[in-house]
Amino acid sequence: MEVEEMGSCSSVNRRRKSLDVLNDSYEANEVSCRHSIDSEIPDQTVVNLFPKSENFIQYEDGTRSPKALVDLCVENVCRNITDFASEIPKGLPQELVHKIIKTLIDKSALNTNTLKNLQQCFGETSELSLHTSRGVTDEWLKKLSGKDYNHSSQNFLDADGNHSCSSSGSSFHSAVSTSVFLPMLNIGDKNICDASYSSAFSHPIIAVPNNTDSSMSQMRVLDLRNSLKLTDEGLLHLHALPLLETLRLDHCHSITGYGLEAFTYSPLLQTLTLSECRCLNDIAMTKVANLQNLSTLTLDGCRCLSDISLKYIGRLLNLRKLDLSNVDLLTDEGINYLGSLSCLMELYIGRCRRITDEGLKTLVNQAGRKENLHTLSLSRCQIGDEGVLYLARLEALRHLDLNGCTEIRSIVLGETLSELEHIETLDVSYCPGIFSSSWQGKINNLKYLDLCYSGVKDVHLSRVTSLPMLEELNLDSCMVGDWSIGHLADNNVTPNLTCLNLADCDVSDEGMVHLPKFKTLQSLSLFYNNITNVGLSHLSGLTSLLHLNLDSRDISDEGMYHLRNLPLKSLDIFSGRITDIGVVHICKIKTLESLELCGGSIGDLGCSQISHHLHNLTSLNLAQNELITNSGASCLASLSKLKSLNLSHTGVSASVIRKFGGLKELQSLAMYSTRGIHKLKKLKNIQHEMPNLRCLRIDGIPESDGTIANSSDSSSDDDASMSSDRSQFEDSDLSIRSNEGGDMQLNY
C-alpha cells in the first residue's frame, strides 16, 4: 500500500507547493478533491479478475509452460465463486482452502457473496488479511464468523440459557451495550468510569465459544486495516477467536471501541493496533484493559483518548510497546498511570503537545525505565533543557526522537548524549541550532541522524571528524554546501553512509565531485540545489544507488545520459526541461519501480517508451507534462504492476480512463484538471474494473452525481494508507511556512 512512500517527505512538500501554485492558475472555481472508494466490487467484476488467458507460467528465458492443474482449478473456482449455487463445502484439504482464499485476496475479489460461499472454509484458517479488500462491512464479519450458519449459533447462550439469535440486535450485544453507554454521559467522572470497568469484567452473558465448531476458531492473525465502514457491531461478531494473537484495526474510522469487548475471549492477544481510529473513546480502553497478554498497543492518532485511557492501559502489565503519538489530549498527569508498566521498551508520545518536562520527569523515574526503555519519541512535546537532562537516566535508550522540540539547546543535549552510549537513532529536526556545539565523540554509535530544518551550517559540520557508524544523514534545508560534502567525503567522516538527504541545501557541481567517494550510498536527495548536467556526470560512479531525487531548472535531457547505468529503483526529477529524449535515457534503467517526471515536456512518445521498457513500475507520476494526450497515456495501460498513476494537468481527456481497466493493481489515480471528467458517465464502472482502486483524485464532482461513494468525507477519509503520511506532510508544510516567515530563527 506504500503508494507514495518513494518520495521523501520534503520532496513531497515541495511538489505540493508547486502544485498549489499551478492550481491557482487553473480554474480557480473548481474544487479539487480526492474520493475515497470504499464500495465492494460487484459480482460481475469478479469473473474478470481471473482471465482465462493467464493460464501459463513465464520463465526468464521467455518460454512458457501451462500452470499446474490445481492452480487452474483454483482460479476456475474463484472465477465462478459468486455463481456457485451452493457454498464451497466443508472438509476440503487445508492447503486448497488456503490457496482459494489467498487467490481471492491477492486479486481483491472478496465481496459479500464471495464470503457467503466461502463461510464454511474459515474453520482452519489461521491468518486472514482483508486490509487490501475494498468495502469490508459488518456483514462481512458476520459471514466470516459463520453467524449466518445455523450450527454455530447454538454455541452462544445468554444468561438465561436462551440461544442468541444471529441478527445484529442479538442478546449478546444488547447486554454489553447497556453497561457501555451509561458512562459515556459521565465521561469526566472517573468513579463512574470505574464502575463500567468492573462491569466489563463481570461478563453479563455466559459465552461458551466451542473451539471446534466456531467458524474462525483457529484464527491467529486478523488484519482488518482500512475498513472504513466497519463498526463496533461488526467487531462483536468476532467473539469466538480463542487463539487470536494479532489484531490490526488501523484506520477503521467508524469504530468507537465498545466492540472490542468481543476480544475479551481472545486471551492470547499480544498485538493490537488501532492507529487512526479517530472515533475511539476512553470506553475502548476499558475493554482493552482485559487483555492481560498484550505486549504491543498502537493508538497513534486516536485523538479522542484522554488521560482516563492511560489509567486502563496501566493495567496491561506485559506491555512492551505503546504508541500514543498524536493523542494530544494526554497531559503530564496521565504519565503517572504508566508507572505500573515496568516492562515498557518502546514509548511514543510524539505530538502530545501538552506533555512537558514535568511529565518526562515522572516517566524517567518510573520502575524499569532505566533498564528497559530503548525507544522514546517526544517530537513536538514541550520539552526543554530540563527534560533533556532527565533523559540521561534512560541508560538503555537507543532511539530518540526530539523532532520540533525547539527549546532544547545544543550543549545540553550534547551532555545527555555523552551519557547515552547506546544511542543509534536521533531525530533533532526542526530544533534550531541543535548541532551548533560539538558533539564529536558523544555520538559514536549513531546510525541515523536527522537534522533537517535545524539550521546546520558548514562550520557546525566541521566540528565532527568521525561518525564511524552513521548510515543515514538528513540535512534537508540546512545551510550546508559543497564544503560540507567535501569534508564528509574527503576526511572519511562517514565511511558507512547509505542515505544522504541534501534537499534544499547549497550544493553545486563542485560539490558533486565528492559524492562518488560515498561508496555505499543507496539513497540521495538533491532537490532544490544548483546542479547542472555536468554535475550529474559524477553520479555515474555511485554503483549502489537505488533512490535519487533531483530538482533543478538546469537539468535537462543530456543529464539523463549519466543516470542510465545506475541500479535505481526510484527516480524523481522535477526540472521542467525533460523531454521524450531524456525519457529514452531513463528507459535504460530497467530496475525502476517508481518514476516521477513532473512538469516537463514529455509527450506521447515518452509515454510509449516508458510502457515498453519499464515493466517494473509500480508508481508513475507524469503530472504537468501538457504534451501528453490520450494516445500516449493509453499506452501506460500495459504497465500492469502500477499501483499509483498521476496524470494531472496533462493534455489527456477523461475518456482515456476507459483504457485503464487493465490496471488491476491500481490503488491511486490522479487526474486533476482533466477535460470532460464531469461528463464521464462511466466513472462507476471504473471503480468496478479496478478492484484495488481506493483513491481517485479528480476535480470536484457535483454531489448529486453520486457516482463515487464517500465523496463527502474526502478531507478525512482519503485512502487510508496514505493519510498518516499526509498528516506528516501537512505538519511539515506548517513548518515551512513558519520558516519562510521567520528565517531569522534559523540563523542561529
Partner: protein, 101 residues
Amino acid sequence: MSDENDKYVKLVSLEGNEFLMEKSIAINCSEMLRGMLESNFKESQDNTVRFPEISAPILEKVIEYMYYKVKHEKSSGKIPQFDIEPEMALELMLAANYFAV
C-alpha cells in the same frame, strides 16, 4: 514383461473404467504417480493403478491435462486454454491436488 507393457500404464477409476496412458508422461507430470510407478509397490509390477475414489470423467480430465502439459511445456508461443467445466472444478481440484499435477 514385454516392452509394450513397460511403455503404458493403466489407470482405473472408481467405476472400473480403465485408461491407458504413456508411462513416461505419467512419471513426468505427477509426483504421486512417479512415486508409485518407480517404487517396488504392486502398482509398478503390473503397471496398473486403481483410484477407488476418483470418477471416470475426472480421471480422464487429469490424464488429458498431463498430455496437454507435456505438449506445451516450455513453448514460446501462446498456450491454448485447458477447458474446465465449472461444475467439475472442485472435484478436479481435489484430484489435481492428490496427483500433484
